[in-house]
């Protein structure tokens, strides 16, 4: 199962709920305002680093670019993908749970 998060971790609890309710090994994709969780040096950076021990972590490049977040601002261990990469994840993992 692929988990997507489209809300900012600074505004909503979508990231927390996703981490609480996703099994180890399931990939997480940050999209739309969810990409804000991928940046370095934030109040959720430690939480993200811990999460990456259990989950492959992806972030949508176009959503980063739209928000003026450069690639070198993305924390280590997070894979930046494009729309084609999103499709690949869905094809590979089948079921999607959207944390809205």
């Amino acid at each position: 199962m692929l988990h997507t998060i489209n809300k900012s971790p600074f505004e909503r609890n979508s990231l927390d709920s996703c981490l609480r309710l996703s099994v180890k090994g399931s990939p997480i994709l940050l999209i739309e305002d969810g990409v804000l969780a991928a940046t370095r040096g934030t109040s959720v950076s430690d939480k993200m680093a811990t999460a990456m021990n259990d989950h492959p972590m992806f972030v949508m490049g176009p959503d980063l670019q739209a928000r003026g977040i450069a690639g070198d601002s993305v924390a280590d261990g997070i894979t930046v993908i494009d729309y084609g990469g999103f499709v690949d994840l869905v094809v590979e993992h089948g079921t999607v749970q959207s944390w809205l």
């Binding site: 199962m1 309710l21 996703s22 099994v23 749970q97 959207s98 809205l100």
Partner: protein, 142 residues
């Protein structure tokens, strides 16, 4: 134009659906939209886990009164879900498993207990609920 009746041949096709409710009622349309999707699922005799997480637990809170806000109190409609579950449980010819689940952590964080809900629910901790979620075939979120 002549009226044609469309038939859907869904015999033998049963999938595991999960409906994830995470928003309080009335503030947004999410709760009502997911509820309508659940009722459609019942018509097609699919397996369903209806789960209430985060503020979604308020959807089934007892004592809702929407008279003064001019909105329809749809908390009573969850009773239909409970009835569908009873049908699924009791009818041996029906290949349909329904579960109504509240996440323990979300319930407790809001000072609620299972007695506060309009329907009977299973209260399940997050670790176990994560495993149930992982085995679903289709997840509809709100």
């Amino acid at each position: 134009m002549a009226e044609t009746e469309i038939e859907f041949d869904t015999a033998g096709i049963t999938k595991k659906f999960m409906y994830v409710n995470r928003k309080a009622p009335y503030g947004t349309i999410y709760a009502l939209e997911v509820l309508e999707a659940v009722l459609i699922s019942a018509a097609f005799e699919q397996h369903a886990c209806i789960v209430f997480i985060d503020d979604g637990v308020y959807q089934i809170k007892k004592g809702q009164n929407t008279d003064a806000v001019n909105m329809k109190n749809f908390s009573k409609t969850y009773g239909i879900i409970a009835m569908e579950k009873e049908d699924a449980d009791e009818d041996e010819d029906m290949d349909m498993v329904w579960r109504i689940i509240v996440e323990k952590e979300s319930m407790e964080a809001r000072g609620l207990t299972a007695d506060d809900f309009v329907i009977d629910v299973e209260v399940i901790a997050s670790t176990e609920l994560a495993a149930i979620m992982a085995e679903q075939e289709i997840v509809i979120s709100g």
